[in-house]
């Protein structure tokens, strides 16, 4: 089963083959979890929403039509919609401190520098979470999922050039939001 391509697994899963769907699940669960994790800052909610993504995918995979974009784009689209609903229903959660999230990402290796690092990470994540959703998605796909611009373009339904341009504007925006003043230097 593991040797199945995505296209083969999708066809079989659409006919009710649970083993084929399991192949797709094992292939993409970590990516989808990471995407949601970085969009919600909550391991608990990331698990909850990841579960919903895959149950929704399972229930609708017979309707899936290959339109030349990767299967993962379909899963990311489901995840994106569920995260958007989650943010709409839990607006107050945006105010939740990033403490636990930050701890789970990086800290621990160097206790002596952890406070400084912690502040740096918190600052960066705070700024990222205030970016428009499209830019957050781009950063997650590029740095967490380690995708190329070409792959990101397929997932986000844009041209590669548009992604490059969006990425550059996102970096400029981050620079401004982080308060890095270039003018007087």
């Amino acid at each position: 089963m593991d040797e199945l391509t995505d296209a083969e697994a999708i066809i079989l899963a659409g006919k009710g083959d649970n083993d084929a769907f399991s192949v797709l699940y094992q292939r993409y669960v970590k990516r989808i979890y990471n995407y949601i994790y970085y969009r919600t800052s909550s391991p608990h909610d990331a698990e909850d929403l990841t579960e919903r993504v895959f149950f929704r995918a399972l229930n609708h995979i017979h309707n899936y039509r290959n339109r030349g974009v990767p299967f993962s784009a379909w899963l990311y689209r489901i995840a994106h919609n569920l995260v958007a609903n989650w943010h709409r229903d839990n607006k107050r959660r945006r105010e939740v401190p990033l403490d636990d999230f930050v701890y789970s990402i990086r800290l621990g290796d160097h206790p002596e520098s952890s406070i400084v690092k912690r502040q740096e990470i918190e600052g960066l994540l705070h700024v990222i979470q205030k970016l428009p959703v499209e830019r957050q998605n781009l950063l997650i796909l590029k740095f967490v999922e380690r995708m190329s611009n070409e792959e990101i373009a397929k997932i986000m339904g844009r041209s590669e050039g548009a992604i490059k341009s969006l990425y550059h504007r996102t970096l400029l925006s981050l620079r401004d939001d982080l308060g890095l003043d270039l003018g007087g230097e």
């Binding site: 990471n34 698990e47 990086r106 740096e120 960066l124 999922e145 970096l171």
Partner: protein
């Protein structure tokens, strides 16, 4: 221009250091994988949700209609 490039490179470096993939809890992954291989439980759950939602919508419509009728009579 060089200064800007320098800062952008710095930001990229920070992003690649701090935005790392995380591993989901293996127990969560395994449990969810098992549940996905038993889809009967899922459809049952969805059907119940649909019924509850339907009953709530009908109740809300009936209450709304009754309220409108009462206000118009008054």
């Amino acid at each position: 221009m060089m200064m800007e490039t320098h800062f952008l490179t710095g930001i990229e470096k920070d992003l690649s250091v701090y935005l790392k993939p995380v591993d989901p809890d293996p127990e969560f992954v395994q449990t969810l994988g098992s549940r996905l291989s038993r889809p009967q439980a899922v459809s049952l759950e969805r059907r119940q949700d649909g019924i509850v939602a339907g009953v709530l919508v009908v109740l809300a419509l009936v209450c709304g209609a009754f309220l409108l009728w009462t206000l118009r009579r008054g």
